[in-house]
Amino acid sequence: MHDTGLRFLLPYMRPYRGLLFLGLLYGLIGAGASAVSPTVLGWAIDELRAGIRVSVLGLYALGLIGLAATLAIFRYRLRMLSGAIAVGVSYRMSQDLFSTILTLDQRALRQYGTGDLLSRATSDFIYIWRFYSAGFQMSVHALFLLGIGCALMALTSPLLALVVVAMLALSIGVQVGLGRIVERAFDRVQRELALLSAFTQEHLGAIRMLAAYTQEQPVVGEFRRINEQYARQNLAFVLRSNAITPLPSLVVMLARAIVLGVGGFMIIGGSLTIGQYVQFIVYLGLLSNAATQLSRALERLQQGSAAAGRIGEVLLRQPDIRSAPDAISVPARGHLRFDRVGVRSPHGWILQDISIDIPAGTTLGIVGATGAGKSTLLSLVARVRDPDVGQIYLDGVDVRKYQLEHLRQTIALVPQETLLFSMSLRDNITFGLAHVPDERVHSAIQAARLSDDLAQLPGGLAAVVGERGASLSGGQKQRTAIARALVRDPQLLLLDDALASVDTKTAAEIVAELRDARAQRTTLIVSQRLAAVREADQIIVLEEGRIVEHGTHQQLLAQGGAYASMYRRELQQSNAENAGSGK
């Protein structure tokens, strides 16, 4: 996992090879300055004992400040430099990631899920950023500091240096070895939290039913149980982490105690000066900080390369749906034919044995219960997904043989779920088109019966809509989606229950408008409302993925099957409304 991650990161680092080298140099100078200062302090103290002139003492003090200034300047440069690399790499990588996402087909998108892709495109980049900004920078500094510090200590007193290094190693060992325990406890906390959130979400969503059967108290009881489990795991985690986290610094304090004792004997024995003694005590603090930094830096490096692995996995992903190498462009008359088409899901067939011929310029109505496979049928035409069995021919050629962009330029699909983007109404309508003349936009708006609403909208066509913009009613949104399709003047128009939220009267007007403009356009209409399909040239009824009835409105009514009974129910409802208002 980690190697794969690094494999993805390395190519992005190549342009920064020079900078990385410079960073090493800065790190060396900064860490050197930092490592020398305890020695200088030690010298000063020894000279103080020997009796020193105040001016020399001043020089020592200035020397300490100078060393700190050197450290500050070079470490600052190292930080800025690693920040620049971090930003550069993550910027380019996220551009590449988004470009890849733009090519993923629906199956791949569903496989990852929006949340997953979103976290790869945001939090994973934070790990990449930290890989360089903290991981690289901190490990360079800490490694040099540890190296130079240990060397200087060994020069002063090999015996004490040995004690210090041994204790530092112990402290790092404790951190690494016991860190696992804390991690595992944390994972358990996260699992409990996920359970708690899921429970809360589900039961608050079902509150109407739970209240209707007065199940609140037992639900609170169940919540308390899960909540207490969560609190228990939380407590276990906190107690473990609080026992383990301060252990390394305890080891360092004990090391100091040893240095205090052993060093004391050595001073009295004459093999160590007080200055050197102080130097060791200061080193212990400095180097244990460096050791902590190093272990954190390693963690960042590891997290960063894991994140790079997750991003790289998406970057490598090849969509199943793309243009064939020898793809052709579309002549587009609009003759569509389904030939024994089948679509499978893990739970069984979504569509099975679908064969229909839709001559250019005609209309097909598709009806059926929720989950019967209507939307899937439409999505096959635009190649949102490909069938598992059978072929779909456009003007006699399998749709998979066309250039994907060309195919999609001839098709406009209005999906069941209306989605408006946070941009102006005009941009939402001309979505994906460049330089659309105003007249075309207006005639699309007219055909989608959106003109009247436009007058009420502050800002008109320039008004920003979508989640963060002006709120439109469900019907207005759907009519905007229809205008979006019509402005493209597509050869094939696919409406997936696209009038469900539009009131009956307006829906009828739009259907009539479409019929007039339909002259040479092939139209496929999925609808819950039969009024939208009754004038279609042919109608199919889908049940559990199969065509169970096929014919014109009159023929299907005469058959007295599923279509006829759906029609009766709908009539009853619309009569209810008419009769009510007719009073």
């Binding site: 003492l57 003090a61 500050a72 300047i73 470490r75 600052y76 800025m80 920040g83 930003v87 910027y91 090519t103 976290s119 945001t122 934070i126 900004s133 903290a134 899921a198 809360t200 209240a211 209707a212 059967y213 639900v219 919540f223 609190a231 407590l235 906190v238 107690l239 609080n242 305890l250 304090m253 105690a257 205090l260 004792g261 004391g264 001073i267 005590i281 603090g285 930094q293 219960a369 929720t370 989950g371 999609r408 979505f431 994906g432 963060r468 493209r488 819950q528 009514l557 006829a564 759906m566 009766r568 129910r569 009539l571 009853q572 009569n575 209810a576 409304e577 009510g580 208002s581 009073k583």
Partner: protein
């Protein structure tokens, strides 16, 4: 020093990567938050006090230990000074070992004390917050339907999870750090002055400067980190939208424009990151230099003191260490500022939610009828969801026990509201609903709802077995009753074909059942939980596959006549089964009678029926 600083960027999102936008809104501008601090403090303090009062003993113990830890933090440099000026200066080897042991002992004692303090604090804190969380959940569940219509579920989940966790963070981490570090700072300053006031003045001279510098940089860092979070929130907002609409982007060929937009956002984020990086890198550099100034001042001034005799060498060494240690509290206290803000914000939201009054609750001394018969009466009922927009206007209606009533009318006529009133999901603004002659407001909610079973139009399923979905949390309902209810409602037909039958696991939201199957399950649930109560059914309008639809119709034919039942009917076959038909229009009952009576009246229902007949003659023979 400073290694913590390295991790500030992006650390906020470690816990909330799924909703970065939220993390961004979690830190309001400093101005607003300061104002809030003053106005809300008392209420928040009250909440904390209330939550923590049952646990005051361990908390007090933890506080004492915390003070002890701060005291112990000061001991090691002091022992070092004693060693250098005592045994080492006097070349007395025998006294060194005890001092070294004392040094090690102080370290171990500090460790143990700190752990014990954490232990008591966490025991109390986790308990207290778990109680608060359950209390909040209980409180939320007591709210009426209008509350749930107003507050999105996502908000409630955030209150119950992240907000309480932020409170936990505040109490168990921020508060501890603030107290420990403040106490340590005070202890260091006190010891330094006690040991050598002149050297103390020299050593601490740099602290006020550090405080000023910290204040200056913290502000800028906070501002640029808000900028960074806003930029990230923008990116994820954009991505969220694009990912949801990716199919549209591809179908309409907008890839290039989207990539350009992403580039803009990405560039903004890049700039924000660099700005933040710049500020914190300068701050760290200044810290490093300032620390050196402190040590240099101790060396230069203290050195002269050693030469002049007003300081000892040991004191000098100890002060070098004290000076470095004194820096920590100043930096850490300012680091905690953000977490404290987030914690207080969370506390305020929790507090506000706890103050919401439940609109519908059982009376103090409910009337419990010995036996329900099932007679329903509405007396001059007027009801509105929003003031001045009544959906029911002065409706009066009497339904004798055992009658099956079908309610017919256009969308928005007030049918569903009527159903909500019968189960007291809402209370009418005027008038009363009576069950067997008793105002339902005078009954306990529990017995009312045990007797009035509502089946909504789009039935809900919980994750769990089929059996659990039928009995819900009522453990007193036995296996046999579940099966009987499933058989009466015809749900058994599909259940028995599922793998594992009644133990079949229903996916969250009932995703692995069809709409029709969910409807059957809801019907079975109503019968199991309220075997002889009033059935209130809102018939589904959406298309259900023909086979399941037939099962539902068949079940209704039987069920409607064994109890009082009120059905919002969309299907003619259901209306036919009813003893009585009520036609609603614009919040009023406009027709009321049997099928034959209403046909004779020649009104709305008659028109409806004629339409149907005419249509039948025109094309469709009888089904």
């Amino acid at each position: 020093m400073g290694e913590r600083q390295e991790s500030t960027i992006g650390s906020v999102r470690a816990e909330g990567s799924a909703q970065p936008a939220e993390a961004a809104t979690g830190t309001p501008s400093t101005h607003a938050s300061r104002r809030r601090l003053i106005s809300q403090d008392a209420a928040l303090f009250g909440l904390m006090l209330q939550t923590m009062r049952p646990h005051w003993k361990p908390l007090l113990l933890a506080l004492l230990m915390l003070l002890g830890t701060a005291g112990l933090n000061v001991v090691p440099p002091y022992l070092l000074q004693r060693a250098i000026d005592g045994p080492i200066a006097q070349r007395d080897t025998s006294a060194i070992i005890p001092l070294a042991m004392l040094y090690g002992g102080a370290a171990v004692a500090a460790f143990v004390l700190q752990y014990a303090q954490t232990f008591f604090l966490q025991q109390a804190g986790q308990r207290g917050l778990a109680d608060l969380r359950t209390r909040l959940f209980d409180h939320i569940l007591q709210q009426g339907q209008n509350f749930f219509g107003r507050v999105p579920t996502g908000d409630l989940v955030t209150r119950l999870t992240s907000d309480i966790d932020a409170l936990n963070q505040l109490l168990s981490s921020s508060v501890v750090i603030i107290l420990t570090e403040s106490a340590t700072l005070i202890a260091i300053v006190a010891v330094m002055f006690a040991v050598n006031w002149r050297l103390a003045l020299l050593a601490l001279a740099v602290l006020p400067v550090l405080m000023l510098v910290t204040r200056y940089f913290r502000r800028r860092i906070r501002r640029s980190s808000t900028g960074e979070r806003t930029a990230l929130a923008r990116i994820s907002g954009f991505l969220n939208e694009q990912l949801h609409g990716m199919t549209l982007v591809q179908l309409f060929g907008r890839q290039a424009a989207s990539a350009d937009e992403f580039d803009d956002f990405n560039m903004g984020y890049r700039q924000a990151l660099l700005a933040l990086r710049g500020h914190s890198a300068v701050f760290l550099a200044v810290q490093e230099v300032l620390a050196a100034f402190g040590v240099a001042a101790v060396l230069y001034g203290g050195g002269q003191g050693v030469l002049a005799g007003w300081a000892t060498l040991g004191t000098l060494v100890a002060f070098v260490q004290y000076t470095e240690r004194a820096f920590q509290p100043v930096l850490r206290l300012s680091e905690e500022y953000n977490s404290v803000q987030i914690g207080l914000g969370a506390a305020e939201r929790v507090q506000r939610m706890l103050q919401a009054e439940p609109s519908i609750c059982s009376p103090a001394s409910p009337i419990e009828p010995a036996r329900f018969r099932g007679a329903i009466e509405l007396r001059h009922v007027t009801f509105a969801y929003v003031a001045d927009e009544p959906v029911l206007r002065d409706v009066s209606l009497t339904i004798p026990a055992g009658q099956a009533v079908a309610i017919v009318g256009a969308t928005g006529a007030g049918k569903s509201s009527l159903v909500g009133l019968l189960a007291r999901l809402y209370d009418p603004q005027q008038g009363a609903v009576l069950l067997d002659g008793v105002d339902i407001k005078q009954m306990s909610l529990e017995s009312l709802r045990r007797f009035v079973a509502v089946v909504p139009q789009d039935p809900i399923c919980l994750a769990g077995t089929i059996a659990a979905n039928i009995r819900l949390y009522r453990s007193d309902i036995e296996e046999a009753e579940i099966r009987r209810a499933a058989e009466v409602s015809n749900a058994s037909r599909f259940i028995e074909q599922l793998p594992g039958t009644y133990d079949y696991h229903v996916a969250p939201g009932g995703a692995n059942l069809s709409v029709g199957q969910r409807q059957l399950l809801a019907l079975a649930r109503a019968i199991a939980l309220s075997p002889d109560g009033v059935l209130v059914l809102d018939e589904a309008t959406s298309s259900i596959d023909t086979a399941t639809e037939a099962l539902i119709q068949d079940a209704l034919r039987h069920i409607l006549h064994t109890r009082t039942s009120v059905v919002i009917a969309h299907r003619l076959s259901t209306i036919r089964e009813a003893d009585r038909i009520i036609v609603m229009h614009r919040g009023k009952i406009v027709e009321d009678g049997t099928h034959t009576m209403l046909l004779q009246q020649g009104g709305y229902y008659a028109r409806l029926h004629h339409h149907q007949l005419a249509e039948r003659e025109r094309g469709a023979p009888a089904a």
